[in-house]
């Protein structure tokens, strides 16, 4: 239900970054969404498609990368993927609260076009 406000924030962030980097058009936006994040990817896509009209991202494709839940045990230092919602170290069975990943909700990169035609096929300046 809050996917609409998340889609709004995505659009704000990419518009700002596009301006900063001189983009005139955004083609692709990559997001990272943790498995534990309370976000429904389909709903986020739907909201984004509603909002992108008449913006610099009007043709942009939203790509969502799901990030698994990884925790670290502070007793034995073991890192493991959390499965079946069991936040307990499989090695020493102590409860684990420290998450290394799984709650991501971030924009990771934008593909776009600048207005200048520099004559080269410059696909990527950094990856």
């Amino acid at each position: 239900m809050h996917e609409l406000s998340i889609a709004e924030s995505v659009l704000e962030i990419v518009t700002e970054e596009a301006r900063k980097h001189g983009l005139e058009r955004i083609n692709r936006i990559k997001l990272q969404v943790g498995e534990l994040a309370a976000v429904v990817p389909d709903s986020l896509m739907f909201c984004f498609e509603l909002l992108r009209r008449d913006t610099i991202a009007s043709e942009a494709v939203l790509e969502i990368e799901t990030v698994g839940i990884v925790a670290r045990c502070d007793q034995c230092d073991f890192s493991f993927e959390v499965r079946g919602q069991v936040f307990r170290c499989p090695r020493c069975s102590k409860p684990v609260m420290e998450l290394l990943s799984g709650r991501e909700l971030s924009v990771s990169s934008i593909d776009g076009e600048t207005g200048e035609d520099d004559g080269t096929d410059q696909r990527s300046c950094c990856s």
Binding site: M1, H2, S5, I6, S9, V10, E12, I13, V14, E17, A18, H21, L23, N27, L31, L36, A37, A38, V39, Q85, V86, F87, R88, P95, M97, R103, L105, S106, V107, S108, S109, I110, D111, G112, E113, T114, G115, E116, D117, D118, T120, D121, Q122, R123, S124, C125, C126, S127
Partner: protein
């Protein structure tokens, strides 16, 4: 046209996180202990507040921020208990955010407040993602909702520091297995405390009240240390 790829790595909720951090500074400067109270609709958030205020007012300065999609019914219920309460209507929004709390704080006189309770919009999903600047996230699960809720809404159960299981007076009549609730919470959030209460009968309130009193005293001490 030059095609470029821009690495960004920005938290989508960063604007809210910034506002939440500002709220938190304000609370800490004033030495106020702040709770973000979350649950599904009808689990008993407002009833818990009424009972808690009845038991603690006079000993602790309390203020309440009420979040609802519409109506000021809950704030009026709280004001009847003799404490400051301000209502936020989200007009369809499914959660409170840091900005709404900043606006609500302008309407409160925090001078004699030791404990601020923010009652979030009834919803087990969205409020879990939005920090408000609170010190602790507390949630209520009522036994009428069933013991499967931790499986279906893991994030909120994973991040709360206290889970109040409410309406335990109804346990004989409903299919809610407390052993399963404990087992499922134990797997998600073994450090979270589970307190069984009934807002109807007042059963189980003593540990909840002493938990609040301890926290409030701790934050008051921090304030005394600063000034």
């Amino acid at each position: 046209m030059a095609q470029i790829n821009v690495p960004v790595v920005r938290n989508i909720l960063q604007a809210n996180e910034r506002l939440a951090a500002e709220n938190r500074r304000k609370f800490d400067d004033a030495g106020i202990f702040v709770i973000n109270l979350m649950s599904s609709p009808g689990a008993g958030k407002t009833s818990l507040l009424e009972k808690t205020i009845e038991a603690l007012s006079g000993r602790i300065g309390i203020a309440v921020i009420e979040g609802d999609i519409q109506s000021s019914y809950d704030a009026e219920r709280i004001q009847k208990k003799g404490v400051q309460a301000v209502q936020i209507n989200t007009d369809g929004g499914c959660h409170l955010d840091g900005n709404m709390i900043q606006i609500a704080l302008d309407a409160l006189d925090l001078a004699n407040v030791d404990l601020l309770i923010i009652e979030n919009v009834g919803n087990l999903v969205c409020p879990a993602e939005f920090n408000l600047g609170e010190h602790e996230k507390i949630m209520i699960l009522s036994v009428t909702e069933g013991d499967d809720k931790p499986l279906k809404y893991p994030l909120m159960f994973q991040i709360c520091s206290v889970l109040l299981v409410n309406k335990i007076d109804l346990l004989p009549y409903v299919d809610c297995d407390m052993a399963k609730v404990r087992e499922r919470i134990g797997q998600l959030n073994a450090k979270g405390r589970i307190l069984e209460v009934s807002c109807k009968t007042g059963e189980g309130f003593a540990p909840w009240l002493s938990w609040i009193e301890e926290k409030v005293a701790g934050h008051k001490k921090l304030r005394a240390g600063k000034h």
